[in-house]
C-alpha cells in the first residue's frame, strides 16, 4: 500500500509533504501538502492549510484548502476557511464558512 494514513489516535504537529494519497483519521496541525488525493475522514481534525489533488472531506478542517482538481465537502464535514478549486461540491449536511474561488 503506497499511501499515507494518519490513524485516529495520532497527532502530527508540523509539516507533511506527500507524493501520494493521504488519509487523515487523526489530528494534523501545521501544514498538509500532497500531489495526490487527500481524504479527511469523519472524526479527523485538520488545523492546517491544505494543498492537494482531489479532496474528500468528512471531518473537520480549519484552514485554507487549495486543490488542483476538485473538493467534495461531504455530509458531516465542517470546514472553516477559504476553498480554491476548479470544481467544488458541498453536500447536504456539510458545514462551511469561508470564501470559494473556482478560478472564474
Amino acid at each position: 500500500m503506497s499511501s499515507t494514513v494518519i490513524g485516529a489516535g495520532i497527532t502530527i504537529e508540523g509539516e507533511i509533504f506527500a507524493d501520494e494519497e493521504v488519509v487523515v483519521q487523526g489530528v494534523v496541525r501545521g501544514k498538509l501538502s500532497s500531489k495526490e488525493a487527500i481524504t479527511v475522514e469523519h472524526g479527523a481534525l485538520v488545523e492546517a492549510d491544505v494543498d492537494g489533488g482531489s479532496f474528500a472531506v468528512s471531518g473537520t478542517i480549519t484552514g485554507n484548502i487549495s486543490s488542483t482538481d476538485r473538493v467534495d465537502l461531504l455530509s458531516g464535514s465542517r470546514v472553516v476557511g477559504n476553498v480554491r478549486a476548479g470544481r467544488i461540491t458541498i453536500a447536504d449536511g456539510a458545514q462551511f464558512k469561508g470564501n470559494v474561488d473556482m478560478d472564474v
Binding site: G9, I10, T11, G14, E15, I16, E21
Partner: protein, 237 residues
C-alpha cells in the same frame, strides 16, 4: 476504522508525531516520534529524530535515540546512529548500529529471565556474601538464602533477581564495542586511546543513565580526546 498509521514512502514529515496506536514509517520523518503503540520503521523509512514506542522494529535508517518501553528489534537493513534503549533489544544479522546500547530494566520490570540461572555458578562463600549485601531485604529472601546455605542445594534461586539481571545485561552489553560519537575525531580517537588510558579515566560529560555502573559503555567525550591528542603531540615534541 483502521487504527494503524502509515507514513508512506512518498511522504515527508517535519514536526512532531505523537499519540496512541501503532505507527509504521516508510517515508521520511524529521522531528520527534512518540507513540504508545508499536512502532515500525520500514526498509524505506528514514527517520532523523528520537523515537519512542512500546515495541519498536527498525528495518530502515534512524538517526536519533530509540527508546522502547518493551523491546527493540534492529532487523536486516536497519541503520541506527544513536542510543538504543529498551528492556530487551535484539540486533539481527544485517542490522548496522553505532551508538550507545542500554539493555535492561530502567524502572520498567522486564519478564523474568530463566536463562540467567544456567549462567550462575554453584554455591560458594562469595555468593553468600553477595546475598548478605542486600541486607535490608533480609526478611524473606535472605532467610531463604540462609536456609539454602545450610542445605547444600544449588542456591541459584536465592540470588536476588535484580543483580542476576544486571549481571546478565552487563554480560550482553560487552558485545557492543564503545562507539565513536564524532566521525571526524574517530580516526584520532583510535590513535589516542592509549594516551587516554595513561591519563586516567576521561572526564565524563556524557549524560549517564540510571544504574550506569553495570550496564553502560564508557564513551570518551570529545574534550578528553582532544586533551589526549594534545598530550600525544606534546610527548612527540
Amino acid at each position: 476504522m483502521a487504527d494503524a498509521t502509515v507514513i508512506g514512502r512518498g511522504t515527508r514529515i517535519r514536526g512532531k508525531v505523537s499519540g496512541s496506536g501503532d505507527l509504521e514509517i516508510d517515508g521520511q520523518v524529521e522531528g520527534e516520534v512518540s507513540v504508545e503503540g508499536d512502532l515500525t520503521v520500514g526498509s524505506t523509512g528514514i527517520v532523523s529524530s528520537d523515537l519512542a514506542g512500546r515495541r519498536i522494529i527498525v528495518r530502515g535508517a534512524v538517526q536519533g535515540d530509540v527508546t522502547g518501553e518493551e523491546s527493540i528489534a534492529l532487523e536486516d537493513g536497519a541503520r541506527v546512529v544513536g542510543t538504543v534503549r529498551a528492556p530487551r533489544v535484539a540486533i539481527l544479522p544485517g542490522a548496522l548500529m553505532r551508538g550507545r546500547l542500554e539493555v535492561g530494566d530502567f524502572g520498567v520490570a522486564p519478564p523474568a529471565r530463566v536463562t540467567t540461572s544456567s549462567q550462575s555458578k554453584p554455591s560458594s562463600p562469595s555468593r553468600v556474601a553477595t546475598t548478605s549485601h542486600f541486607a535490608p531485604a533480609r526478611a524473606p529472601a535472605a532467610s531463604a538464602a540462609s536456609a539454602q546455605s545450610r542445605v547444600p542445594a544449588p542456591p541459584v534461586i536465592a540470588q536476588p533477581r535484580a543483580s542476576a539481571q544486571a549481571a546478565h545485561a552487563a554480560k550482553r552489553i560487552e558485545v557492543a564495542s564503545p562507539p565513536p560519537r564524532h566521525s571526524e575525531v574517530s580516526a584520532l580517537a583510535l590513535d589516542v586511546e592509549q594516551e587516554q588510558e595513561e591519563e586516567g579515566p576521561p572526564s565524563s560529560e556524557m549524560p549517564v543513565p540510571l544504574n550506569s555502573d553495570e550496564n553502560s559503555i564508557e564513551i570518551p567525550s570529545v574534550p578528553s580526546i582532544k586533551k589526549g591528542a594534545r598530550g600525544m603531540l606534546a610527548k612527540k615534541r
